[in-house]
Assembly symmetry: C2
Homo-oligomer: 433 residues x 2
C-alpha cells in the first residue's frame, strides 16, 4: 500500500505549528476584540453566483467547484469554495442587513481556497484574518485599523513600517497631468523608481502612452522627498486644481493627525507607489512591511465605497485590513520570536508500576483542577521509554513515582533541561509549575 | 437583483452565535490542553482515494467532490471535502509516523462536510471536536477521556450521564447465545426494551432470525438490573465461558475502578444497548447524554484497534471521543447557560463633536492598553443615534463626552441597563470596567 498523501498545495499542521499558529490567531483576535470588533463566520462553500465575476477572469479560473457525489450536478445550484473573506462578507452584510446595526465592525478568521499553481509560500488553502468597519466614512476607522496594526505587531514583537497612500491622491495626479485613465500605468512606473531611476521611469511612461507633457508634469512627484508632512505640502500645491486629489491630501492629513493625537507609535510612510487593489479601493490604502525580514506585505487593506454594491446594496462605505497569517508565521520563525513552550504540557507523570500509576493519576487530577497542564504516561512502561517520550514532547518537568514516593506522599521531580531532581509534595509541585 | 443567499444546509454565524460557539470551543480546548492533548489541523480537502470506501456505500454518496475550475478534471487527482476528522487523523498518523512519538495525543476542532439532505439540526457543514490517544491500549486513556467529559460539562454547567459499554461484552453475549454474527440485531432489539417491553423484543429477535434457544439464553441480559457493579457481576457469570466477553467485563471494571480511584464525579451507567460505530469500535464505547434536555448524544466515542490499518499501518490501538458542538450549543441555549456579555465591548465612547471625538480616542487608547475592550462611535453623530447603536450592541456602559467633560478631564458614564449616570475620571473608569 502506498503511503497516503494530501492534495498538492495543502498542508497538515502538526502540534508545534498549530501552537504557533494559534499564538498568531489569538493575538490578532484579542486585539480585534479590544477594539470592539465581533467575529462572524461564513460557510466554506458559497453559491457560484456569489463568487463568479468578483475576482476578474483570472480569479474565476482559480475557484474550486463543488459537486455532491450523490446528486445530479444539473439539479443542484453550483457551489464553490470561498476565494477570500471579502466577497462572503459583502454577501453577509446584504443578506443580513435587516439584523445589522451600522456601523458594523466585524472580524473573520477562516481559510480560503485558490486553485493557484502551488509554489514556495503559495498554498491552495490558507487562512485570512480580516477586520472591517462598514457603514461609516469616518476616518476614525482608518485610525483604529492603524492602531490595530500597531498593537498586533507590538505584541508579536515584529518591527514594521506602515505604508500609507490614498486612491484619491493617485486619481488627482492622473487628472492633473491630463491622463485620468492611466492611474495604474503611472503607479506601476513610479513603483520602479528605486530600482531603475527617474530617467528609465520616464522612458517607460512614454512607452505606456503618456504624453511628453504629462511626463513632464509628473516630475515633481517622482522627485518627491522629505517627511510625510513635507510631501503632503508639496502634493497639496501640485494637486490644488484637482478636487479629488485635494480631498485625498486632506484625508491623509487627517489620518496622520489622528495618529499623532492618540500617540500611535509606528513608523508611517506616505508611499505614492502603493496601489494595491486599485480598482477596488476608493480612499486610504495600507500596506505593512516587516523591517527585519524581506518578505513583502504582511498586512494590507484600504477603504472601499461600493463593496456591497455587487449584491445590490450601494453606497455603503467601509474600510478594512487583512493580516496574512502565513507570512507572519514565517517572520516570527525567521526572527525566532515565539514564546517558549506555548500551551504544552507543564509536567508529565512517569510511574514505575500499576499502583504508582494510580497514585500519579490522583495527583494529576488535583493539578488539573488547579488549572495546570498535566500528562500521565498511560502505561507503567520502562522508565527510559517514558522519559524518551517526555523529551520528544519537550515536557519541561517529569514527576517520577516509585514506592518510596508513595510512602512519603511525594514525587521525584526531574527538570528535563538541567537533569536536576528533587523530592516534592503536591503543594510544592502546584506552586512550582 | 435578488438577495444573495448561501447553499442549503450551510449557515452564517453572526456575532452573538460566534461568541457562544467560541465559548464552547475555548472550553473544550482548554480542558483538552490540561490533559496534555495537542492540536493538529488537516486540510479541508483530501484525496478521494483517502476518503472513498471509509464510510460505507451510503457515506461515499455523501462526499462532496471538488473540481478546479481552470484545470481539466481528468488531469488532477480527484479531491473531496473531509467527511469527519477520524479518517484524516488516521491518514495523518500514517503519513507522519516517522515524526510522531507514540502514544500520540491529539485534538482537532474543524468543520466537516456531508451532502446529507438538510433538515432541522442536520447541516451540510458542521464542526467536530475530536480528542484521541493513539498508540497505547492502556485503559488510563479511557479514564482520561471520561475525566475530560466530566471537566467539560462541569465547566459548561450541563448535567450529563455517561453511558458506557464495551464491544467485547456485546461480542461475548452474541457468542454465548450461539449467534456470533448477530451482534447488531441483538443490540438493536435490546435498545427498544424501554419502548416496547421484553415480549415484543423477543418477538423481534425471532423475526431477525435468532433461534428460540438463543432468545431464551438472552433473557437474563434483557432483565439485567441494579447498580453497575451488580450488573457487571451478573454479566461476569453469564459470560464466564466467553474469553472475549470476560475481557470486556474486566476492562469495564478496571475503567470504573480508575474513575473511583480518581474521584470522577459523573453519573456513569453501564448500558448494554449502546452500540454506536459497532463495526469500528473494539473495546469501550462511550456516549454522553444531557440530563435536562432531550436531544440525544452530545459526545461519543470509543476504542478502536485498527484505525490506521486502512492506510497500511496495522495494530495501533487508540481511543477517542468527539464533542458535538452544534448540540452542545442547543443545550446551552435551551438551559440558558451562557455567561453574560462574552468577549464583547465593555464601554463605548459617544462624543458630541469633533474635538470630543479626539478626546474620546485618547481615552480609548489608554483603556485598551490596560486590556479593556473599548469602542468609539466613529462619528460625532446625534447622541440618540450613538446610544441606539450601543443599545443594539448590548454595550453595558457608554462614556459620553461633551465640552464640560473635556474641561474637567472626565466622562459622563452611563449605565445602559439602569440608566444611572456619573462623572468619572480615567482612573475611576479603568477600575470600574
Amino acid at each position: 500500500m502506498t503511503k497516503p498523501n494530501i492534495p498538492k498545495g495543502t498542508r497538515d499542521f502538526g502540534a508545534i505549528e498549530m501552537a504557533r499558529r494559534n499564538y498568531i490567531f489569538s493575538t490578532v483576535r484579542s486585539v480585534f476584540e479590544r477594539f470592539g470588533f465581533r467575529q462572524i463566520e461564513t460557510p466554506a462553500m458559497e453559491l457560484m453566483t456569489t463568487l463568479m465575476g468578483k475576482y476578474g477572469e483570472e480569479g474565476d479560473k482559480l475557484l474550486f467547484r463543488i459537486q455532491n457525489s450523490g446528486e445530479k450536478a444539473a439539479l443542484a445550484p453550483e457551489k464553490g469554495l470561498r476565494y477570500d473573506l471579502t466577497v462572503p462578507f459583502a454577501r453577509y452584510v446584504v443578506q443580513h442587513q435587516a439584523e445589522l446595526t451600522l456601523p458594523f465592525r466585524r472580524y473573520q478568521i477562516q481559510p480560503v481556497w485558490r486553485a493557484d499553481r502551488p509554489q514556495k509560500g503559495r498554498y491552495r488553502e490558507f487562512y485570512q484574518c480580516d477586520v472591517d468597519v462598514i457603514g461609516t466614512d469616518s476616518l476614525v476607522s482608518e485610525l483604529e485599523l492603524i492602531q490595530i496594526v500597531e498593537e498586533v505587531y507590538h505584541t508579536l514583537g515584529i518591527r514594521v513600517c506602515l505604508h500609507l497612500n490614498n486612491r484619491k491622491i493617485l486619481a488627482g495626479i492622473a487628472e492633473i497631468i491630463g491622463e485620468p485613465d492611466k492611474i495604474i500605468d503611472i503607479t506601476t512606473a513610479i513603483d520602479k523608481l528605486d530600482k531603475i531611476g527617474q530617467d528609465k521611469v520616464n522612458e517607460e511612461l512614454l512607452e505606456r502612452g503618456l504624453s511628453q507633457e504629462a511626463v513632464q508634469k509628473l516630475q515633481p512627484i517622482l522627485s518627491l522627498s522629505g517627511s510625510n508632512s513635507e510631501k503632503l505640502d508639496t502634493m497639496a500645491s501640485l494637486l490644488a486644481d484637482s478636487e479629488t486629489g485635494s480631498k485625498g491630501i486632506e484625508e491623509t492629513k487627517r489620518i496622520l493627525g489622528l495618529c499623532k493625537a492618540t500617540g500611535v507609535n509606528l513608523p508611517i510612510e506616505l508611499d505614492l507607489t502603493l496601489a494595491r487593489g486599485l480598482n477596488y479601493y476608493t480612499g486610504a490604502i495600507f500596506e505593512v512591511k516587516a523591517l527585519d525580514v524581506q518578505i513583502g506585505s504582511i498586512t494590507g487593506g484600504g477603504r472601499y465605497d461600493n463593496l456591497t454594491g455587487i449584491f445590490g446594496l450601494p453606497d455603503i462605505s467601509g474600510v478594512g485590513i487583512s493580516f496574512g497569517a502565513d507570512r507572519i508565521y514565517d517572520v516570527l520563525t525567521e526572527l525566532n520570536l515565539y514564546p517558549e513552550a506555548m500551551g504544552s504540557t507543564e509536567v508529565m507523570f512517569a510511574a514505575f508500576g500499576q499502583q504508582e500509576l494510580e497514585y500519579a493519576l490522583r495527583w494529576a487530577t488535583a493539578l488539573r483542577k488547579a488549572g495546570k497542564r498535566v500528562e500521565v504516561y498511560p502505561e507503567a512502561a520502562k522508565m527510559k521509554k517514558q522519559l524518551a517520550y517526555a523529551n520528544a514532547q519537550q515536557v519541561p518537568f517529569v514527576a517520577v513515582v516509585g514506592g518510596n514516593e508513595m510512602e512519603t506522599n511525594t514525587v521525584m521531580l526531574k527538570n528535563m533541561l538541567s537533569g536536576e531532581q528533587q523530592q516534592v509534595t503536591l503543594e510544592q509541585l502546584t506552586s512550582m509549575i
